[in-house]
Symmetry: C2
Subunit: 307 residues, 2 copies
């Protein structure tokens, strides 16, 4: 059974779908008066993109009836937009190619589509346009998770500290019901970091997936000999992508380069995923103690690693 909130979400998505169907409908009207209809344009577009298509492959890819595709191709061939040659190695197959006049028409169709869209986007300012694009990309990332995701580990930038604080607070509240005192602690730790950071031996890194915040890690100086690993976090939707491992490796490499002799970190027994990562990276738990923290009864742990 769905909760009310989730059902609301579904209804809101449906409402957006209705809205967007109408919106796209208005755009498609711009193609009226053209010699080609939408399926024909799609076929022409695909042939132009992929120069070695055959009718069957096309029908399969576009999820169209082979007979229908055959008729569309006949029309496009008759109009001189495509031509085709029998595959000498298999005389059943006919390789499709776009002709110069096909390219030309496709170009003008592209211009038309762009102009239509341009008119609809006209009321938007440039920053609003880039906001629109980034909203759309985010929606695609959410709905099409299979879309290739680029993982990037990069040094800290302006604005990252706030994001790290926000994500720690929200995530640990969601996953472990930790309270506001945890947010306060992270805030204090990072304020301390920002105020006293020595870039030569202290750093923070952010993991991004397709430009989105996916995780964080910090290395701070505990003493001349010892570095402390802090604020490791991987967003739940990006777990299993080796992001945690990469962040820890990045951090360890840096600490070695800085000449630290050992590393230490705090965690607690309930953070099983993080603990596995620490173990894999060569850390061992050297101390454990119970204490009430963040509104829960935690078993705090200290983990160390010799570099």
């Amino acid at each position: 059974m769905l909760t009310t909130a989730q059902q609301d979400a579904i209804d809101q998505v449906r409402s957006f779908n209705r809205f967007y169907t109408r919106h796209i409908g208005i755009l498609d009207e711009g193609f009226l008066g053209q010699p080609l209809n939408l399926p024909e344009i799609r076929v022409l577009f695909e042939v132009a993109k992929e120069s070695t298509l055959t009718a069957n492959v096309l029908a399969d890819y576009l999820r169209m009836d082979p007979g229908y595709v055959s008729r569309i191709l006949a029309k496009l061939l008759k109009m001189g937009l495509l031509h085709r040659a029998t595959d000498p190695s298999d005389r059943r197959r006919k390789q499709l190619m776009i002709t110069p006049s096909g390219e030309e028409l496709l170009q003008s169709l592209n211009d038309l589509a762009r102009n239509n869209l341009e008119q609809l986007l006209a009321p938007l300012s440039p920053p609003q346009r880039s906001e629109l694009v980034s909203l759309m990309n985010r929606i695609r990332a959410l709905l099409e998770p299979s879309r290739q995701q680029r993982v990037l580990i990069r040094p800290l930038q302006l604005g990252d500290l706030g994001t790290v604080i926000n994500r720690h607070a929200v995530l640990y509240a969601t996953e472990y019901q930790w309270d506001k005192s945890f947010e306060r602690t992270v805030l204090e730790v990072l304020a301390q970091f920002a105020n006293t950071v020595d870039e030569t031996c202290e750093r923070g890194w952010i993991a991004e997936v397709d430009g989105q915040f996916a995780g964080s890690i910090f290395a701070v100086k505990e003493s001349d000999e010892t570095a402390r690993l802090r604020a490791l976090l991987v967003e739940p939707q990006f777990r299993g992508m080796q992001i945690g491992r990469q962040l820890i490796e990045q951090c360890i490499d840096f600490c070695r380069q800085c000449g630290y002799k050992q590393m230490t970190l705090w965690t607690c027994s309930c953070l099983t995923q993080a603990r596995k990562l620490y173990t894999k990276a060569g850390f061992t738990c050297t101390k454990a103690w119970d204490e009430p923290l963040f509104g829960a009864n935690l078993t705090s742990e200290s983990w160390d690693k010799v570099l």
Copy 2:
């Protein structure tokens, strides 16, 4: 002529449109095997939603041919899903209404659509769902500016502090090229706030537009007599919606209730929009001094207001 960046934006929007067309297409496939096709469902749905429709209004709204609508209505009437009554004040018009059996069918179609969507949204966690909804609402707000946007001023929640820090850092860097020292200052101010807050006389508020972060303000105790207004921010895309004014009012109201005698705030001469808001709210600039701050040469100002 379009700039390259704008053409990129247009191409990206087109790419999103192709993606979303496919996405909606997958959803619509769930309606196969029903006695009604998509246009018929849309008509039924609209009649159910708006009980005083007539055929022409419907055709207009759904951008369908009146003749086609007429035939669809004939089918739905024959199936007993709708009925209609001649408008007594204009006997050309016939008011459309849905019948109980129409409601019933619509309900089952709704369930079907919801289930289809539910399957597509299944991989998303609840927070991702609400993110999706808020992204969609924002897109609608951009593309359909007439649509009413709900502004909400709410008290601080877990996670807000990080967001406020991030937005301050990024926004002032973008708009005024302020450097990391500003991020550090905000971080420190809010860490201080989180650690020492006395909820009876200190508060923070967040402005949301359709669930999205739109702005912030804080009231902190300077002395028993004086409250300090801090961290006022309104996101650029939501300016001109009276959000700044509402945030300041909220803050002033609270300070009055707490029994403060006066309020004070820091700003600088270049923040012209904020200064206008302060003036309107009854603040006056009582002190001004030049100082190098945040990587710029600022004219700092102190503004006060007697409550």
